[in-house]
């Protein structure tokens, strides 16, 4: 398939997991912008310390959809503390790699998760953990430039 996508990327693109929205989400994170061609939006449901449900909406290429799908799988049912440690490298690894030109999509996936967690803390009136800070600046050059 195009640009050397791995079998796993193809699978997550063809059958993305956790697509959709959550009504009354406890945290919503959106990163990227349509001008550069990628937007990811992640919805979290949090019960106590656990991410009990997660959904995503993505506008973007095959890798953007696959990384969103994989990132949601990696945090679903997991404690928040674990989701905070999610890195784009872990997402890439779980997908058996991405073409170099598509690595920024995995960055976006990590940042979408962190932005949703940041939103959760903010909604609760809690201090936002440091791990959430590196969210998308909205300036594409900072990621893709």
């Amino acid at each position: 398939m195009a640009m050397g996508y791995s079998e796993k990327v193809r699978d997550h693109f063809a059958n993305p997991r956790n697509v959709g929205k959550l009504e009354n989400a406890d945290g919503i994170g959106e990163v990227g912008n349509a001008v550069c061609g990628d937007i990811m939006k992640i919805y979290l449901k949090i019960d106590g310390d656990i991410i009990s449900d997660v959904r995503f909406n993505t506008f973007g290429c095959g890798a953007a959809i696959a990384t969103s799908s994989m990132a949601t799988e990696m945090i679903k049912g997991k404690p928040i503390s674990e989701a905070l440690k999610l890195t784009n490298h872990a997402v890439v690894e779980a997908l058996d790699g991405l073409p170099p030109a598509k690595l920024h999509c995995s960055v976006l996936a990590e940042e979408a998760v962190k932005a949703a967690l940041a939103d959760y803390y903010q909604k609760k009136g809690l201090p936002v953990p440091e791990e959430c800070a590196a969210a998308c600046s909205g300036d594409c050059a900072h990621c893709c430039g």
Binding site: M1, A2, V19, A34, V35, C61, G62, A63, A64, I65
Partner: protein, 394 residues
């Protein structure tokens, strides 16, 4: 996926039977070097001369106006670089082109700019067509070359080549056209259309890849771009790729015979796709003039989705297409062609190009039109951009 439906003929075409039949015997037995004086060499030289004659005839040129090259890219580089150098020798360092040329032209022009040339890129307007009066206005006393593509490779729009040629002729400025997408698909007559130089590439008309030609009118001084032996009348060194040249000549003759009837059938499929998509899918834009376009070219933007994911979904359905999105171009920006016709980036990202050919059937079109609406709405359903658009409209 049983059958592959190939709708990416602007990228390349299948190698046709005419080309294969012409090439295989040359590969098998006519291995002589056309520069050799013995019989095998002379046999090869005859084949070369014959191919040159046939290629020339297909565009209304003389055999000694045809130079075989490695393809469209080399032909473009050769024509533009060498005519620019000839201009500079006379103190003329201004070139006119358009904003939506192929990179083989644009990047060559960029290099010339670095070397001190001034380049004016004509606007191609929303319909993807240059205006002849704007060309006239752009001409300066130091203009040494006008290069305008015959038909655009992404949106398929056909330029007023004969009129542009006439204006250039009147001003004594050499006129080059990158006709890579047009040769074998549109009737071309370099005499009637006042074309001084023309680039073509065999793999766009069912010939082999890596072979093409540059036509250069007698009387236009063309200096060498590739130095070497005495091949191509001392103009382009390197032992000729004879099998490919013979394949190219056969493919071009085949493409030009019955062109009219074939393009009618292809254009009917093109129009059916465009009409049905516009009718059945909301928020779409057809890119490029509806009439003045290549018979096989469909280019449509689907708002709210991104082109690469669209083409990958089509691929899962066995349909090969292409997109001008940034993600497929491997850069941050979507296609320069779509930006040149004034599309905002966020919409240009959602472009889909389908380029049809005589090998496509109405059944292929049925299948495409069956799966496309579902794919588009599926991707829109998961698109935050679409969600935003729908919110704003309610």
């Amino acid at each position: 996926m049983e059958k592959i439906i190939y709708m990416d003929n602007a990228a390349t075409t299948s190698t046709g039977k005419a080309a294969l039949d012409a090439m295989i015997p040359v590969l098998e037995k006519d291995y002589g070097n056309p520069s050799s004086l013995h019989q095998l060499g002379q046999q090869a030289a005859d084949l070369l001369a014959d191919a040159r004659k046939r290629v020339a005839a297909c565009i209304g040129a003389q055999p000694d106006e045809i130079y075989f090259t490695s393809g469209g890219t080399e032909s473009d580089n050769w024509a533009i670089t060498q005519l620019a150098l000839a201009g500079a020798a006379k103190g003329k360092k201004h070139i006119i082109s358009t904003a939506f040329e192929h990179h083989a032209v644009l990047h060559t022009l960029k290099r010339l700019e670095k070397e001190g040339f001034t380049v004016t890129l004509l606007d191609v307007h929303q319909d993807g067509i240059v205006r002849v009066d704007e060309l006239k206005a752009a001409i300066r006393p130091d203009t040494c070359l006008v290069t305008v593509m015959y038909a655009n490779n992404e949106i398929g729009t056909i330029q007023p080549i004969a009129e542009i040629g006439a204006v250039c002729r009147e001003h004594g400025i050499p006129f080059h056209t990158d006709a890579v997408q047009a040769v074998g698909h549109l009737p071309i007559d370099v005499q009637k259309q006042n074309i001084d130089l023309l680039s073509m590439s065999a793999h766009k008309f069912h010939g082999p890849k890596g072979i093409g030609a540059l036509y250069c009118r007698r009387g236009i001084r063309l200096t060498n771009f590739i130095e070497g032996g005495a091949q191509e009348r001392n103009r382009r060194g390197g032992t000729e790729n004879l099998p490919a040249i013979c394949g190219m000549a056969a493919a071009l003759e085949d493409a030009c015979a019955g062109m009219e009837e074939r393009s009618k059938r292809i254009a009917a499929m093109r129009d059916r796709i465009i009409d049905e998509v516009v009718q059945n899918i909301p928020y779409v834009r057809v890119n490029g003039d509806r009439q003045k376009r290549l018979p096989g070219n469909v280019n449509i933007c689907f708002e709210g989705i991104e082109g690469e994911s669209l083409l990958l979904r089509l691929d899962l359905e066995g349909i090969c297409a292409s997109s001008g999105s940034a993600c497929t171009s491997g850069s941050l920006d979507p296609s320069h062609v779509l930006l040149a016709i004034g599309l905002p980036k966020e919409i240009a990202h959602g472009s889909l190009r389908l380029t049809l050919d005589e090998e496509n059937t109405e059944e292929d079109v049925d299948h495409l039109l069956n799966v496309l609406p579902g794919i588009v709405s599926g991707l829109r359903e998961m698109s935050p951009v679409w969600e935003e658009m729908m919110k704003e409209n309610n």
